[in-house]
Point group: C2
Amino acid sequence: MIIHEAAEMYLESIYVLSLHQDLVRPVDVAREMGYSKPTVSEWMAKLRDAKLVEPDTGTGLHLTEAGTSLARSVYERHVVLSGVFESLGVSPQTAADDACRVEHYISDETFEALKKHWQSNKKSIDAEN
Amino acid sequence: MIIHEAAEMYLESIYVLSLHQDLVRPVDVAREMGYSKPTVSEWMAKLRDAKLVEPDTGTGLHLTEAGTSLARSVYERHVVLSGVFESLGVSPQTAADDACRVEHYISDETFEALKKHWQSNKKSIDAEN
DNA sequence: GACATAGATTAGGCTCACCTAATTCAATTG
DNA sequence: CAATTGAATTAGGTGAGCCTAATCTATGTC
């Protein structure tokens, strides 16, 4: 399975929900993402086939190791990109919305460059205070 | 017609081709974008309906005023975003590829913030030399 | 133990943005 | 002027990613 924007969103959603609650069910993902339950159900099957979500255990959704690592890196992009945008003066809401789309489309090379730049920027701002 | 990524790409392609040649035909757009002629043909009809491309004049494709202004602003995003990425050390090819996708997904607010930052950065680099 | 309710899945359908194959149309050449 | 070639369009089709309606399953309540 080639991982596209949509798949990354489902993984990220499961991951983020799991940071706040210990039981993550398809219906929670559906609510969070604003999609119907059947849509989420289909996707969970695809993600299980792709070994990114554990086969049904009866205790909610669980990412596999591969799924976790993918979700984590998408989420890291989200955090860093929002941070970059906010540090340029963009409002938090807009920064988050834009990060949410851009996080799926940017290459590793560009992401790493932005991250590096942002981190050194943060350092120099921290140093000022 | 709500303008999506795809529509913006067709407009941008017509615009960019017209910078280099005086006759821009659907077949040129198809070659440039790597799509089939029927796909381009359909889209030209949609863009004509949306008053973004002039009704067939027999002298190739021409953007309307609205089409030109839209295409120009997408192209500006492309140029600025590539510039931002390259100024962070990203290779020109990757910077262009990423700009090509990101240009359609970023809000005005974030784009303007990036542009401003990039311009002031350029100035300070220029000042050093 | 029957019933209501919440969650999950199945079946079937829709739109979007692409495709190929076939056709039409116009210009160019033998 | 008939034949060829290149461009444009029409017709029909595909896959991705969503949807609703209906059904199945489990859980909690009287």
